[in-house]
Each structure stands twice: as C-alpha cells, then as structure tokens.
Symmetry: C2
Subunit: 298 residues, 2 copies
C-alpha cells in the first residue's frame, strides 16, 4: 500500500501546504487524470483554489463538456493549459485506419489550439492486434508524426512525442526511450515536434541525463510521478505520488532545468487509490510533495 496521501483528513491535509499565491506553485500543473474523480470544472476550480498555475487537460472529458465551453472556463480561470492529452495511436497497418488516425490527430491539434495548449501529447500506440512487427509499428508512428507536424506548426501547437516505459511497448507506446523519441523529433523543426519527459516512463533509461541535455528546447512537457513497486496488477494504474517510489526527482529535475526547460511541471498520476480519495486532499498532497521534491531543483 502506498502512502499516497500525507494525512487522513481534508482539514489537516492543508495544514502545512503552501497557500495559494505561493510563488513556488506558479509552474505546477494538475493533469486532470490525477484527479479522475473530478469533472473538468472541478479540476479547474480545484487547481485554481490551491494556487496552481496550470492544468493538463484530456480530450474526452473536454469533449463531454464541449470544447468552446471549456475554452471559456479556462480563459476565465486564469490558468494555463500546460498540455492536451492526447493524440497519437498511429500504428495501425490498414491505410483506412491510418487515415482515420490522421484525421483524429488533426482534430486534436485543433482542440489544443482552441484551448491555448502549447503542446499536444502523442502516445504512439502499440502493436496492432496479432502483429509482432515492432520495427514496422515504429516506422508507421514516425511517418504519421512527419505527416502531422506541418499542420501542428501552422496551428501553433507543438507535438510532444511521449516515450513510454517499455512495460507498455506491446500495447500502448512503441517509442520506448528518450533517445529514440529524439531521433524522431530531430527530423522536424523544433517549433513543430518535441518530446515529453515523464519521470515514470524514463527514470530507468541509461544515459537519460545526457539525453535530456540533448533534448534542450525540444522538451515540450515535463511530467512527474513515481515508479512504485510492486507493480500493481493493472499496470496502467501503477503510477505513484512523488516520494512513494524509486524516482530521484532531484536529479531528474535538475537535468530538465539545466536543459533550459522553463515550462509547467505536470503531475500526472494514474492510481486507483488516488482516484478513490478526496480530490482536494490529492491536490494538497501533490502540492506538498512537489514543493518538497521537485520545485527546489527547477
């Protein structure tokens, strides 16, 4: 059992939590999936009232409310949208499925632009059902990014290739290391294609510090959460609150800062326990852990 909340009650949880207005929270972004128990409206309100600078939004809940409505809410809130999750899923083999994926990604770019999100996070997709052709899937993802990139550039949105922990290579993301993501991104203008640096996905990568340095201004998003063990039965929900696992956030964050990254820091945690808790308590714990483990190294 992970200690994903610092204290048991809502009132106590805020006891030594930095208050709204604390400048240390200016770059902290709540990815709305961290509080999946909340609606879009609740996430915006919760982030604002806790003093955060930004939120990361997801396409599906935004669409459920309506894009224009959420865009207005965001504008009214004073929050930035650090990124929109997610485009991608580029690895289908059939031409028609690839066209459908491209059209969906064009729409995702438009949505990011409408929300003022500088970055569309791309989850590359896994192996097609029954396929074992990992090299082919990687090639198709690379081609699809090349096709989408100019349009993203026109709309002022940067594509963020998200390398994913190899635990997901078969079923979710065939881009498996920052090195590989940069090999793809560097084929394109920096204002069109960058990379997402996520501690959960990359903490294990040999030479990751050098790759972060190499990434430089290709870093379009910095997402933090922890690698916890034992890996939960549903490994999609295996992300932990910062400090509950094995990630050295100081070293990782220093490297990202040294690379020149000056954007928001998104906390993105998929975890059934976190989702079962009170949203305000999750945000309060997030704030405390961020201020303790991440922010000092930015």
């Amino acid at each position: 059992m992970t200690a994903f909340l610092d204290v048991p009650s809502g009132r106590a949880a805020r006891f030594d939590t930095p208050a709204p207005g604390d400048p240390r929270l200016a770059r902290l972004s709540l990815n709305q999936r961290t509080t999946a128990q909340w609606s879009v409206r609740e996430a915006l309100d919760g982030a604002r009232s806790a003093g955060l600078g930004a939120v990361g939004l997801w396409r599906e809940p935004v669409a459920d409310v309506g894009l224009a409505t959420v865009a207005r809410w965001v504008a009214d809130s004073g929050l930035r949208v650090s990124s929109l999750c997610r485009g991608g899923f580029f690895t289908a083999e059939e031409p028609q499925a690839r066209e459908t994926a491209h059209a969906d990604n064009v729409a995702a770019v438009d949505e990011a632009a409408a929300l003022g999100a500088p970055t569309l996070v791309l989850v590359p997709g896994g192996l097609p059902e029954g396929s074992k052709d990992l090299a082919g899937a990687r090639e198709r993802a690379t081609e699809a990014i090349a096709r989408l990139a100019p349009y993203a550039g026109e709309r002022g949105v940067r594509l963020g290739i998200e390398p994913m922990n190899p635990i997901f290579a078969a079923d979710r993301g065939v881009v498996s290391s920052l090195r590989q993501a940069l090999d793809i991104a560097e084929e394109h203008p920096v204002e069109q294609v960058g990379v997402v640096v996520d501690t959960y996905h990359l903490w294990w990568e040999p030479g990751v510090t050098e790759q972060i340095e190499r990434a430089g201004d290709r870093i379009v998003a910095y997402q933090v959460c922890d690698w916890i063990t034992p890996v939960p039965a549903d490994n999609l929900l295996g992300r932990g609150m910062m400090g509950d696992g094995h990630v050295d956030f100081a070293a990782f964050t220093r490297a990202v800062a040294a690379a020149g990254y000056a954007g928001d820091v998104e906390v993105e945690i998929f975890n059934a326990d976190v989702w079962a808790a009170d949203g305000d308590e999750v945000v309060a714990t997030t704030v405390r852990r961020y201020v303790e483990l991440v922010e000092p190294y930015l």
Copy 2:
C-alpha cells in the same frame, strides 16, 4: 489466459513433437526454472529423454542436491550445462555487504566451473532498500563485475551480464539495455565478460539489432521466452511460452545468429501456469515452439 500448452494430454502433446535424436534439438537447452515443478534429477532426465542438448541450472537446487552429485549426473547424462544462474546482486552500499556479495560470486564461479558451465549469468541487483540512487547502484555493479572478472577468467567461466527489462530496474536489475550491458562488458577481455541476450528482457530495445551485431562474440547466452500481455499481477512470473506473446523470434534469432552466436538456446520461462502443468508436456510444447519459431532462424 495464455495458451502455454499446445494440447491437453501428455500423450497427444508428443504427437507431432520432434523425436529425440532430431538434429534440430541439438542446441536447445531447458533452463530448469521453466520446469520448476521438477527436481534437478527430473530436469536432467526430462531434457535428455526429449532429445535436448543442454540444460541451464540454478545454484539453489544444485546446492540442495550437492554440487558434486549434480556434476556427476550431468557428466553421465551427456547433456551440456549451457549456463549457471545466477551470480550478481552487486548493488549493496555497505562495504561488508559488498564483500559478502563478492565472496558469493566467487563461489558461483567455482560452481559453474565444477558443472562445466561456460557461463555464469549475472543478475545485477536492484536499488538498495530506500535508495533512489540508480546511477550509484549501476556504478557499484560495474565495479563488482570488474573485481570478479579476472577470477572468472582464471576458472574458465565467462560472466554473462544480463540486461533486464526496465520493469525490474528498481528491484532486480539495474542494467536495463543491451547497449548498457555492452558498455560495461567491453571494458574487459572477451573471454572474461559477455552479455546474456534474453528476448523477454530486450525485445523492446530501440536499435537492439545493431546492439546484437555489436555484441558479436560477447554473447555468452541466448535465452528465449515471450512478452505476454496483460502483464500478470506478479510481474516476476510474466514470461510466456514462445508464440504466446509479442516477440518476433524470427527477427531476433536471425540477429543473434548473424552476430556469430553458435551456442545453446535456453528456454527460460517463469510462469505459474507453466509450473502447474505436467513437466513432460511443458517440455514437449517447448520443443514444438522452438522448432517452429526459433530453430529455423539460427
């Protein structure tokens, strides 16, 4: 549920299984953990009666029987010992624990020599309890290998650094890619230190074909099993029978053969369903899958 056995009954399982004496089985090795339900004696008998050329042994069950006894059984069986599992666990921080680990690895080298195993497989070890210093753990593993290598060379045993799937980076193996393992191995004479190429651990690695080519005669063991999804709750037991998962054995095996590897091919599967089955049926299925998916590409 994976289809880890081809047929339900022992008699039928052997129906179209290559018979003992089939030359295609000459390089096939049964890692004894694939049939954890068997004793050492049963594994030797089972491998020999199925026509395999070799077995991979583990230190603990060998010690339970007695090293000299097993060495005699092996000699009498006509089987090769393709490797001994396992040395390693090099990442402790305290000097005394590191001395203990070194002494244990010296003993493991001696056991490999006594069994006629050309290779001692090294599992590097994970992060010490509570530590987040991955770079430090990797450094200590590298130093421990450097210390052990000359002794292994004296005894005619090659150390096989086993890069492990990043799913195990925290708790089992801090060497996470073939590229990284080769960076360590290449500091030593080729007759002292090599690498273990295991499809389960490495199938996702970007550029793995080039790394296998780079490895060349550093490859001291080739282990095969499949990456299956969903990843089981106990991820240590998430290895599947070849053909049940996502690994392209043809491409992987071609690369290993092209690198010049001419040794045994060990089937090493940790899987609760496989362990619950009849050992002879597991071996029969292993043989059929190997002849279909691996052997043609050697």
